[in-house]
Amino acid sequence: MQRYSGFGLVKHALGHHENWERQWRNPEPKKRYDVIIVGGGGHGLATAYYLAKEFGVKNVAVVEKGWLGGGNTARNTTIVRSNYLWDEAGRLYNHSLDLWKGLSQDLNYNVMFSQRGVLNLGHTLQDMRDIQRRVHANRLNGIDSEVVTPQQIKEIEPQLDISSRARYPIMGASWQKSAGVARHDAVAWGFARGADALGVDLLQNTEVTGFKIRDGKVLGVHTNRGDIEANTVGCVAAGNSGVLANMAGIKLPLESHPLQALVSEPLKPILNTVTMSNHVHGYISQSDKGDLVIGAGIDGYLGYGQRGSYPTIEHTLQAIVEMFPMFSRVRMNRQWGGIVDTCPDACPILSKTKVKGLYFNCGWGTGGFKATPGSGHVFAASLAKGEMHPIAAPFSIDRFHTGALIDEHGAAGVAH
């Protein structure tokens, strides 16, 4: 692998940028691997990368039906934070945040992680009580988080309307300073390039059509490019997890919904941070390119259409204008939908299944991007050892039968 550096940039500039090597190979599938990862999004690629780098499992294939990072990795609003309520979720997302901090150096790929902070606004007394409870829980778990007053909010984000004129006046917020945003595509590409350099085969345009299962043990997958064998298969397929589970005869407590986002025309720098509001329901940040990145709620119905509905756009933009009246005449450039696999308790599933050797990492719902490195790291550890990593263990699928749910609907940020 050609390492990227400032010196390399100068060298390639002299060669008119004609000699950059491809970031990853496009190999033919081998007959057999130690581990197959189904799904080449951020989480799947991160899993493959950490398997090869930290757990010494290099004979790995990532099987992707489309192209790398072409699903929700390319469709999210790039927010990274870890201010979740419960200990289990706090540990998982904070583990991820720790990895984010050194990710660009680790991958030798600029993921443009910018710790510009996240405000979660409160508009009612109950909002503020919930925020205080969450902030206290965060601090006990070593997550930096504080309650801020409207005046402090105004200093952080001057364009927010904190006046009492608003229909839902802002009463305060929680503020996580170490949170931020990252360049979503670069995350997938960085992990892909890193994994490929360590010997992982990235198989694009390879769709899994079934699992080879005998005596309750997984032996490999059937694909449109032939059968591939492996004794360990990890499914990291987000919205399509349910379809895969069906092939393996497993039921998952997931429902796939369209979640949409939109970006505006590029503007000069106007927002300092990420602002989220559960109550009026919208979240917004500004990309380095200058466009406002706006996230909406999910559509209430099941859907695989990768498009959203107009009423949801309307409600979201109402919320944005409620918070930032000055954006009322900003024009929107693009709108798109992704398919999110929502869990009943708004927490992911990282779990073994009743089929030996078959693991699922899914159910991230509306907030998977922030967890990309952490999810990949703990899932890789679990696949390598055959035992769930301690951080991943509470997210077993068994919790829906034992009742040990981890209810993160409050911290999830998107109502569902």
């Binding site: 039921k251 998952l252 407590p253 429902e255 099941l302 859907g303 498009r307 509905s309 829906f400 039968h401």
Partner: protein
């Protein structure tokens, strides 16, 4: 945007008057005292999540406020039928060629015209407003 026929109001109304309430035809365990954790968990949390034909419950929340069922394709978003509570669907995933026989609302091929056109006039008569 869906344009949904409410089987109680006997009218097509816009999506915003309705709320989707998840999978239809769920049966509460009939003998709660002798129901295992496994069965309770399945009843409470595990749902069908098909790519294709799905039977789901909706409520006409700002209309008659009654619950009813819809058979819908979760990929094309075609609504194939709506029927009152207590009735069984006439179209299921096993029905051949459901779209052309029973289409009420059909995506027009494009990505933004969800549910905008009808293929079957009889089932999708415009109501004068």
């Amino acid at each position: 945007m869906f344009y949904i026929f409410c089987p109680y109001c006997k009218e097509h109304r816009e999506e915003e008057e309705f709320h989707a309430r998840g999978q239809a035809h769920l049966m509460r365990p009939s003998d709660p005292d002798n129901t295992s954790d496994e069965e309770w968990g399945d009843y409470l949390f595990f749902r069908n999540n098909p790519r294709g034909i799905h039977h789901e419950m909706w409520v006409h929340s700002v209309g008659c406020r009654k619950f009813f069922n819809i058979t819908r394709n979760t990929v094309t978003y075609d609504i194939l039928e709506t029927y009152p509570m207590g009735e069984q669907p006439t179209i299921t995933a096993a029905t051949p060629d459901v779209r052309h026989e029973q289409g009420v609302q059909v995506a027009d091929g494009g990505w933004q015209t969800v549910g905008a056109r009808s293929e079957n006039k009889a089932l999708n008569e415009e109501t004068s407003s």
